[in-house]
């Protein structure tokens, strides 16, 4: 059970959160301008690093806020990325 630091509520059990996958994957400014391949890359392709990974969490059972942390996928060490 990870202890995830919500920037608003403080550290809470993982069970209170929904995982949001890789962070910093922005919705394209003009989707219509993208090729099918570029669009598919936005939709379906994500990194899967061994080591630090920027990822999003939503505090669904708490404040309902989305935020970003860096989690080391080998040790589960978590450092906050979203500041209050």
């Amino acid at each position: 059970m990870l202890l995830i630091p919500c920037p608003w509520c403080g550290p809470r059990d993982e069970a209170e959160f929904h995982y949001g996958g890789q962070a910093h994957v922005a919705y394209p400014a003009d989707p219509a301008a993208l090729t099918d391949e570029e669009w598919a890359r936005y939709l379906f392709f994500r990194d899967n690093p061994m080591g630090p990974f920027s990822e999003r969490w939503n505090h669904t059972s708490g404040c309902r806020r989305w935020f970003t942390v860096t989690r080391d996928t080998t040790t589960n060490a978590i450092t906050p990325e979203t500041s209050r």
Binding site: L3, P11, D13, A32, R65, W66
Partner: protein
């Protein structure tokens, strides 16, 4: 208290009555009664006795029969109680067919320091930390504190060990914010210092077992060490016992496990544990026949006896052996620090040559904060353990979090725990430096040299594995099953690694151990389930009208966590009859449905319309105040995610409904876009699902019913047209009435405060002209009309166009979530599966939902080309026949075609129809 002063308890084993004493384990009581054979080995059917004295025991696994059947429990850990009935096992046990009447639960706990193990090291650490002001939890799996002190009788700080331990525990519990959990096994060590423990509260406790979920600032592991066996011929025969176990039976329980004992030791432990054990047994009246010390070249080459030890063979391998009469053979092959929890936490182990065992090495990273002290890291002297306990919890080393605010990060980042610091001089391990350990006694035949007594794995089996080419200890484990039993390899693990290393000619430290996994001791599923079983297994969500549905004998359906009435059978009616009657009532008169479970989200703010325009496929911003629009949401991949209605209450105020199962997901979805992509949009979403109770009133008679209940409301079609809403009073209750329809009939949804839901329901039914209908009739009615149900007719691969709803996808909006995906080549394919109606040629045949649709009237050889599948299938009162909805490839171009649905061995011919089968012009709905 001496044994004779303890209360007498009666129990049975294998049907025979015995007496034991309060404080005994079942194993101690059996030994006290001279019962030495308690089990039969799982594979080889060999007799097995009592080998250990606590959780390390690999052999004495029994079945509990009373008070409640429990399979495969360690006799060495079962507290004896009056009326206990147990029996020996050969392999697997028996589960009870009856529900367990005992209560189980779970609780959460937080502390600055969790100390695992209440021996000299742990007690000292806990007391010291508590004195420094920390919040401390001290957990130990024994019924009483002291760790091995009651087993050894060793003194501490000049006092008898047991007395010292009780005094220390007394001082500890008297301090504020301390908790002492005895009979509590810490079974798992998870991420971020989260540990799970199981407290065995006893047969008489209100709650029999309790799971503790502990989040600790720091963890101090003082889990001690296990003595280990030596592999020699016949080392599994009842009467062979760990020296430490024999000592525990004598000192802790006052039970003499034999009459005449031989001792086989490699040395090691505190002072010399095996010699100390021999001394204690002798003092208790056991005759010590001989001490065979491997350091002086002595070897036990085998034992003799039929079913239990009668004599011990002492000598040299291949050479002549002396036979020494004995009924007990104490074995001491060295000591393994209990590193299970440290390893579970992610700590690395290293092999320590001085004690010939694995000890904690590099501490884990990533939010674990753990320190190992005492025998658990190879410090075997009592004085050394006390010193370690003090050092581990002395300021400024000790982090006190008592005054920390709850928002402060609790993720411990301190990795300074001296997990692999060298042992202090005065606390050093007493094993002789450089001493060669003895793992197995050489022999020509290794078929009875057991390394895992529970799994019946011998040195010969390990030879088989290595000669088959296996080189990894993990592979050998899976090949031989060594270490996979309930005891998690407590006695067998290191021995197995060492023997494999010996066979492969490699260094045991380089070979390593198998992975340590939770749970440290067996935990029953009942304990893990805790309170979450039966009626509390999962939350049951109910509406304000729930009691009324129960009173009407509703048969309920689970929709997510909600209980929804599926149908209301009248006396003598089955489901089919009830649903046909309910459908007919809606089509011909009026019906009422509890629609309160629909998700409701209040969307407010100057940019609310813009937000909804971006999330729905159709245009919302053009909706007029007072009007309602149906809308569909897609995921970015273009697939339908949810549908519902959007009500415009004010220019900047909407009420959005979602499907029952998706209420939370849709709110999360809106927040995700709002917070992460469009934070500049000024709009706020608030769940109001339970603010409103909703009654759907449907059928040609509904207008008259509403008119009677809402005298202030103009209900004629012109004043109150389809897809508009009005605020009024219904049955004297403030209400919002929406004229929308999910049945294809003239219909209204009446929303009132949840508090008045039951009053509204009662008022509608009191008119006497309205039939309550459930979700099954609702499903039939909407399917007749071709309205899809998200999650039933869709599965995450269906676009709005696939549902025949091209009209709901705006061509004007520059973008909405999912729009780009609708232009992908795959979503534009003409042969995509489309929603169609299917009419079985025999109007009485009901197609099975999920049935495949094929084009040929015979089954071709596999693979059979499948055109699609049936998503919904019902018997329709209005159509006077059965019908189905299906997703069929190129569906729109197949209208009138004959297709087939294979059911068992027959192919059911069906005709493809438009998916709207009832009132396609919608004159009934809109009139």
């Amino acid at each position: 208290m001496t044994r004779r002063d303890r209360e007498v308890l009666s129990f049975t084993f294998d049907g025979r009555p015995y007496e034991g004493r309060q404080g005994d384990t079942l194993a101690a009581a059996l030994l006290a009664n001279g019962v030495r054979r308690v089990a039969t080995s799982v594979t080889l059917g060999r007799p097995r006795g009592i080998f250990g004295a606590w959780t390390e025991d690999p052999t004495a696994v029994v079945q509990i029969d009373r008070p409640f059947p429990e399979p495969m429990v360690q006799a060495t850990t079962i507290p004896l109680h009056d009326g206990l009935a147990a029996s020996s096992l050969a392999g697997r046990g028996r589960l009870s067919p009856d529900p367990d009447p005992a209560r189980y639960d779970a609780t959460h706990a937080h502390c600055d320091v969790l100390v695992v193990g209440a021996g000299p090291a742990g007690l000292t650490a806990a007391l010291n930390a508590a004195r420094a002001g920390a919040r401390v939890i001290l957990a130990d799996d024994r019924p009483e504190v002291g760790g091995s002190l009651p087993d050894t009788g060793e003194p501490v700080e000049g006092r008898p060990g047991v007395e010292w331990a009780r005094a220390a525990a007394g001082s500890y519990v008297a301090l504020p914010d301390t908790r002492l959990l005895t009979r509590t096994s810490v079974v798992g060590y998870y991420d971020h210092n989260y540990l799970v423990a199981v407290e065995r509260r006893g047969e008489r406790a209100v709650t029999r077992e309790r799971v503790w979920r502990i989040r600790a600032g720091r963890v101090v592991l003082a889990t001690g060490a296990h003595e280990r066996p030596i592999a020699f011929a016949g080392n599994d025969l009842p009467g062979v016992m760990l020296a430490s176990a024999a000592r525990a039976y004598v000192n802790r329980y006052g039970v003499v496990p034999g009459r005449r004992a031989a001792v086989f030791t490699t040395g090691g432990g505190s002072g010399d544990a095996a010699h100390d054990a021999a001394r204690d047994l002798a003092a208790a009246g056991v005759e010590i026949a001989e001490i065979v010390d491997a350091r002086q070249g002595g070897l036990v080459t085998g034992v003799r006896g039929d079913g239990e030890v009668r004599a011990v063979l002492i000598g040299r391998p291949g050479g002549p052996a002396r036979e020494v009469e004995a009924d007990l053979l104490l074995v001491s092959g060295g000591w393994n620090p209990v590193v299970h929890l440290f390893a579970q936490a992610g700590g690395e182990l290293r092999y320590d040559d001085r004690i010939a065992a694995f000890v904690p090495g590099r501490p884990p990273e990533g939010g674990q904060s753990v320190q190992v002290i005492g025998a658990a890291r190879g410090v075997f002297t009592t004085a050394g353990c006390v010193a370690e306990g003090l050092a581990a919890t002395s300021p400024p080393d000790l982090p006190s979090t008592v005054t920390r605010s709850s928002r402060e990060s609790r993720v411990p980042v301190d990795a300074s725990a001296p997990g692999d610091a060298p042992a202090r001089e005065d606390a050093g391990p007493s094993g002789e430096a450089g001493a060669q350990p003895l793992w197995l006694v050489p022999a020509d035949d290794y078929t009875t040299h057991f390394v895992d007594l529970q799994r019946d794995v011998t040195v010969a089996d390990l030879q088989g594995a290595t000669s088959a080419g296996l080189r990894s200890v993990e592979h050998v484990k899976r090949y031989t099953t060594a270490g996979t039993a309930h005891d998690q390899g407590k006695t067998s693990g290191t021995l197995t690694s060492a023997v494999i290393a010996h066979l492969l000619g490699v260094d045991v430290g380089a070979l390593g151990t198998t992975t340590f996994r939770a749970p440290y001791v067996p935990v029953s599923f009942a304990t893990l389930a805790g309170r979450d079983r039966g009626a509390l297994h999962d939350p049951v969500r109910v509406t304000a009208m729930h009691d009324r549905h129960v009173e009407r004998n509703a048969v309920f359906e689970n929709v997510g966590q909600w209980k929804r009435p599926r149908y209301y059978p009248l006396p003598g009616e089955d489901m089919e009859a009830a649903v046909l009657r309910e459908c007919r009532a809606v089509r011909e008169a009026a019906g009422v449905l509890d629609a309160s479970t629909l998700g409701k989200i209040d969307v407010r703010g100057p940019d609310a319309a813009e937000l909804l325009d971006r999330l729905y496929t159709n245009m919302i911003s053009t909706l007029k105040v007072g009007a309602i629009r149906y809308g569909v949401m897609c995921r970015a991949d273009g697939m339908v995610f949810d549908d519902g209605t959007v009500i415009r209450l004010a220019p900047d105020h909407f009420l959005v409904t979602t499907t029952t199962g998706n209420a939370a997901a849709v709110l999360d979805w809106m927040e995700e876009w709002l917070q992460t992509e469009w934070p500049d949009l000024r709009a706020r979403c608030t769940s109001v699902t339970e603010q409103w109770a909703t009654v759907a009133l449907a059928g040609p008679g509904s207008r008259a019913v509403l008119a009677a209940l809402a005298p202030a409301l103009a209900v004629d079609a012109e004043s109150f047209p389809f897809m508009t809403w009005r605020d009024t009073e219904v049955a004297g209750i403030e209400a919002r009435v929406c004229r929308i329809s999910f049945s294809g009939e003239l219909a209204y949804e009446i929303n009132v405060s949840w508090w008045y839901g039951q009053a509204l329901w009662d008022a509608v039914l009191a008119t006497g002209t309205v039939t309550p209908y459930g979700t099954e009739a609702m499903h039939v009615l909407r399917a007749e009309k071709g309205y899809p149900i998200i999650g039933q007719d869709t599965d995450g691969t269906v676009t709005p166009a696939d549902l025949g709803m091209d009209w709901i996808v705006s061509k004007k909006k520059p973008d909405f979530v999912g729009k780009r995906s609708h232009a992908r080549a795959d979503t534009a394919r003409p042969d995509r599966r489309r929603l169609v109606g299917l009419l079985p040629e025999d109007p009485d045949v009901l197609l099975p939902e999920g049935g495949q649709v094929i084009s040929t009237g015979h089954l071709p050889p596999p693979p059979v080309p499948m055109l699609g599948h049936v998503t919904s299938s019902y018997r329709s009162a209005a159509l006077g026949r059965t019908f189905a909805l299906a997703l069929v490839a190129g569906g729109g171009n197949r209208l009138g075609d004959r297709l087939y649905v294979p059911v068992n061995d027959t192919l059911i011919p069906v005709t493809v129809a438009h998916h709207v089968l009832y009132d396609p012009e919608s004159t009934r709905r809109d009139g």
